[in-house]
Amino acid sequence: MFSFRYVLRETGQNLWRNILLAVATVVTVGVSLAMFGGFMLFQVAVESATARWQDGVEFIVWMNTDAGTDEDSSVRNQLGESPGVDRWEYVDRAQSYEEFKEFFEDTPEVLEIFTAEGVPPYYRVVPTDPDPDVVEELGSQFKGKPGVRTVTFAGDVIRDVQNLSNRAGRVLFIGSIVLLGASTLLILNTLAVAIGNRRPEIEIMRLVGATKWFIRVPFMLEGLVQGLLGAIVAMISNSLLRNYVIDQFSDADGLQLLAGFKVDDAAMLQVNLLVVAIAVGVAVIGSNLAVAMHLNE
């Protein structure tokens, strides 16, 4: 039977005895998880800003709000028959309005002006060849067709944003993975020191009949506490990043592209839950390695 009071007391004492090492571990776990969280938040923000342009979509054929069935079928047939079109997706008025509401959720004055009837349906088109000239030529075939309002292209800016985001994301991702590896080793090392400091107690515990888990749990809990404290550091960092960096982008006047550059509450919660899950994973791996390597009951 476990005495929770004993386990909590021993865990606290272990942390306090190696306070400097414990702080170093928490900071390293926190920084690595903050980097990972930052990577995730930027991915979410870029995806939000370029939502219509994901998965290789190079141009969008916007229909008139009053386009008839014949006009719609004509565009549809042309998309289906064109050898330059790899695939396409129709976004109807209701879906388009949902996207619109999401895009301008922070600008209620815009939402007040438009209703679902005022928002056009559209076709997202993925060409077989992403070459800008080919895309331009292909998209232009739809301009001026009956029922077509306009054709917009992904253009260099959006592709540049996506490319930059992908590259920066990769660096952040690789950096955070390396640091998470270091965090695991630091947790392992902190626990190895704690186990070493308590060697005489552990020997007594073994001989008086303490079970393997009774001996192990305070050390494993110590690793878990370090991981969770690191997760709290990362969540604070995520919150600051969202409120003072990402939201500043989306508030920037005149940058239409960045209007959708934001992280909503649901995405924030998902990122934070992922950060906590990774912290628990790192702690469990580090702790298990430490007790397996240094505690031979």
């Binding site: 004993y6 007594i204 515990m205 073994r206 001989l207 008086v208 009949g209 009774f214 001996i215």
Partner: protein, 225 residues
């Protein structure tokens, strides 16, 4: 209470610590293990506590074959066996009472049991007035009393003592032996490895002599040599 059947223990490099040992120790017996250094006394004790397992033979403690005991059951075996060390092995940052309570706490006993049993055992070993002292504030004999209190606080069936008077002067040793005798009188089986001839001669209990891993003498109410 303890039974060994043709037990052989071999360490790395083909060092034979115990060879074909067969012995039967009854409940409530007091047994001295004597013999020169390296004769196998400590190995004998370590096998009883399942710190080691023999290469051949079987060991029974309280009727149970401990050789076949799975790892997770070993702690439960040890709760029935107290262990007293030559160097006391007290935790220096804990008080006398905390050292004794530690043995109960780590096997999951609650505060009520601890608060009842710790003062009682400290009374038995004569350290009631020093329960808040730290080990460094005690004499060698007193530290060994704490060690015995810790080993006995859970009221084990068997008490193993490996040279418990090895670090003590003769007068203090007498006090420790009186204490072990009292514990034995309560009904606990005591097995004590020792080099101390005066202790063995004064007690006149059963003596098992080991030499190069073999039992060369097993004498009721014996002497050291």
């Amino acid at each position: 209470m303890i039974k060994m059947e043709k037990v052989t223990k071999v360490f790395k490099g083909d060092v034979v610590a115990l060879r074909d040992v067969t012995i039967d120790i009854g409940k409530g017996e007091f047994v001295f293990l004597v013999g020169p250094s390296g004769s196998g006394k400590s190995t004998f004790i370590r096998l009883l506590n399942r710190e080691d397992v023999p290469e051949h033979g079987r060991i029974f403690v309280a009727g149970r074959d401990i050789g076949g005991l799975s790892g997770w059951r070993v702690p439960y075996l040890r709760r029935n066996i107290g262990y007293v060390f030559q160097d006391f092995k007290l935790l220096q940052k804990k008080t006398v009472a905390e050292n004794v309570a530690f043995a109960l706490e780590v096997i999951g006993k609650g505060p009520q049991v601890i608060n009842r049993q710790v003062p009682a055992i400290l009374e038995l070993v004569g350290l009631s007035r020093k329960m808040d002292r730290f080990p460094r504030e005690l004499s060698g004999g007193e530290q060994q009393r704490v060690s015995i209190a810790r080993a006995f606080v859970n009221r084990p069936l068997i008490l193993l003592a490996d040279e418990p008077t090895g670090n003590l002067d003769p007068t203090t040793s007498v006090g420790i032996m009186r204490l072990l005798e009292r514990i034995n009188e309560i009904g606990t089986t005591v097995v004590m490895a020792t080099h101390d001839s005066s202790v063995v001669d004064s007690m006149r209990q059963r003596v098992v002599e080991l030499d190069r891993g073999m039992v060369v003498r097993d004498q009721a109410r014996g002497v050291y040599e």
